[in-house]
Symmetry: C2
Subunit: 418 residues, 2 copies
């Protein structure tokens, strides 16, 4: 544990000497940077993005790096999306939209729930956001006050926890590892609610594990949270990217759940910064008021383009088949080269590998893999501040060739070093 904290400190010294030792941060870090807010000092860098920056710099310098560090589909958005964006530039003034977004997009998303999940959603409950990032900010502000404790699975997407810190919400990390079946246990959630926890956020499929929460557990989690008067937030950004069985939306079990989704992953529109929420009726107006003030509206060209994303099924299913082939390759090959302790990988495009037989300092390991094996991966510490030093996350959203090259390089590196 001491080693992990030390590893952490190394990464954060650019901003503040050590997040492990808060007293040290207050006395040392705050002295030289006294004017940075205390809440900002609690927000940890998103390591995957720092690795992405270094990988880009190396690529720009002519170094041939295989990129498995960031959750980003390779290449461009679907052709129909690009066509719709071009048409919007010809035909629309592209000014601000209503805070909740263009009605045709909201209606198209409602239709998607009917067609894909058999669930009726009033378009008035659909709120268009600037990526899922914008949705998190609005949902957390609408539902939680500073000082509220809210449950998060550990491991989990680091921005949840970091946005919480920025907004004064206390993240209550709930074990969601192999021992818990890769999702928070219902009993633990119930106990924390009794202690005053105000809500729970889960993702299924999850980042970084890929795990899908089975229907019985999902329903039980929702019912437990809502019975206690808390908010259940369901991050469904990896819906559509499933390989064994589909994932169920929280809307199947509740009209009060806050559902967050995005066009970034399945629809391959990361840089377009466009996502959505389905809100319970009682949060519609407050989300609109917050959105007017915090965002004005989501990018207009992206809103027009996103409508066409639902017509790009063929291209998107091809893409999904590509991820599935990548996944098969890695699930076959990684165990052979000594990287076999993997989380379920039911969906999304990540493998979460237990590398505790190699190190408990996965930051140094990821740095060495980038520099020595020319494969960019992410330390588990992004996703799990407690045990993440024993894990790596590998994204297989790249091309199949890239995955094959990554396996080769990792095999050679492991042979030499492990």
């Amino acid at each position: 544990m001491v080693i992990l904290v030390a590893a952490n400190c190394d990464r954060f010294k650019a901003v503040f000497p050590c997040r492990g030792g808060r007293a040290a941060a207050m006395s040392e870090g705050m002295k030289s940077h006294r004017a940075i807010s205390r809440r900002a000092a609690k927000v940890a860098p998103f390591l995957a993005m720092d690795v992405m920056r270094e990988a880009r710099q190396r690529l720009a310098a002519g170094d041939d790096v295989v990129r498995m560090e960031v959750g980003q589909p390779f290449g461009q958005a679907p052709r129909k999306v690009l066509e719709a964006a071009r048409a919007a530039m010809r035909e629309e003034p592209l000014g601000y939209t209503d805070a909740a977004g263009l009605l045709p997009l909201r209606e198209r998303i409602a239709r998607h729930y009917r067609e894909t999940h058999g669930i009726d959603v009033d378009p008035a409950r659909v709120f268009i956001t600037t990526g899922s990032s914008g949705a998190f900010l609005l949902a957390f502000l609408a539902a939680f006050d500073a000082g509220d404790a809210v449950g998060l699975p550990n491991p989990g997407y680091p921005a949840y926890r970091n946005i919480f810190h920025a907004l004064g919400i206390t993240p209550r990390l709930l074990p969601a590892g192999a021992a818990q079946g890769w999702a928070p246990r219902v009993e633990e959630v119930a106990a924390k609610l009794k202690e005053g926890m105000k809500g729970l956020l889960v993702a299924s499929p999850a980042n970084p594990t890929g795990a899908i929460i089975d229907d019985a557990r999902l329903r039980a989690l929702i019912e437990t949270v809502e019975a206690a008067g808390g908010w259940f937030i369901s991050d469904e950004i990896y819906h559509g990217l499933t390989y064994e069985r589909p994932a169920t939306t929280a809307l199947a079990f509740s009209e009060r759940a806050i559902v967050i989704n995005s066009f970034s992953k399945y629809y391959a529109m990361t840089g377009w910064r466009i996502g959505w929420m389905v809100l319970p009726d009682e949060l519609r107006r407050v989300a609109e008021v917050l959105g007017q003030n915090l965002f004005i509206s989501a990018p207009t060209i992206s809103q027009h383009a996103a409508i066409a994303a639902f017509d790009a099924t063929e291209e998107l299913q091809e893409r999904r088949a590509g991820y599935a082939a990548n996944r098969d390759l890695l699930l076959n090959e990684l165990p052979r080269i000594g990287l076999g302790a993997l989380a379920p990988a039911d969906g999304a495009f990540y493998l979460y590998a237990d590398v505790s037989h190699l190190t408990n300092d996965s930051i140094t390991l990821s740095r060495r893999l980038l520099r020595e094996a020319r494969v960019a991966v992410t330390s588990g510490l992004d996703f799990d501040p407690l045990d993440g030093g024993r894990f790596l996350r590998l994204s297989y959203a790249g091309s199949h060739d890239d995955m094959a090259r990554a396996v080769e390089r990792l095999a050679a590196w492991m042979k030499e070093n492990a």
Copy 2:
């Protein structure tokens, strides 16, 4: 005053019965909507956007409304911007960028400060944001903690105050009306800093008044705030839209000021949601870390397109000449029809009209003007929660024909009703 509160209540009853009476809001509003956070309940609707929605609905229903309600340039972004967006779609994958944005755009903005203001800015200090909205959120979070008091001019852009409420920052409204020369007085700022105020945000040219702060006052405000160890934030979103004399950037007087700007107004790119900050060195890394977590990055197509905005000078200057002609028309005609008590209007594209000879309930007045005169304008209560009931804001960012029609309609309405 009671009347204004009542008028306010009317607008807010959709979410919470009355923002004027906090006790009432807690007992009534919170009973039926108990699960909305207390901080969200403090955030007031942005009236201009509600008016915009109604104006749009009326237009869609075939009603011929002249739109002066929203600060939005008419028509489309410059041709070169659209060309650059098309090229980016052909040539770039449009995935996430670094949190601080594309280097060529950051370099181009730095060059803009050299060419336009004669000031050297290191591109590393330029941070690309999702509109100025994104910049506010990052700057406020980086610089201020919950509980900090920060000064804002009153009247002023309502989102400042509302984002403050969302983030737990206390807005310290500083009189900035006719009696103060349309900007906070230095003595008052100094006094509030002594009481513990942590910073000051001003805009020049300002929304809703159009007032430019003269150099001597701007320098004195900055020096006063920084001498007290506070943060000076300069909203320069209306730079470029000035009609009598240019506006000076805060960077001329300080390397520690936080400067916020955007492509929305002068560059006519509202719906593209793209802006920037120039940050002091000590905030660079913390802004990056916050940006990674809260936004990931600004819309990529907009970043590529914005680079070309600096080459669209001819088109943009034509546009500015159009606003100047609109401004001349209104400054000549409005006094003749009884709407003459106007704030300076040195820049931006707003007129702020004192209508206290007509009403102290400008919400009802704006609603009547929309329905009876078919001219959409905004109540001053968006910008000034204390005296805004006696003011209207009229945006002249529309076409010249629209402005002429607005004058005709307002003249006829005034003749009949005032």
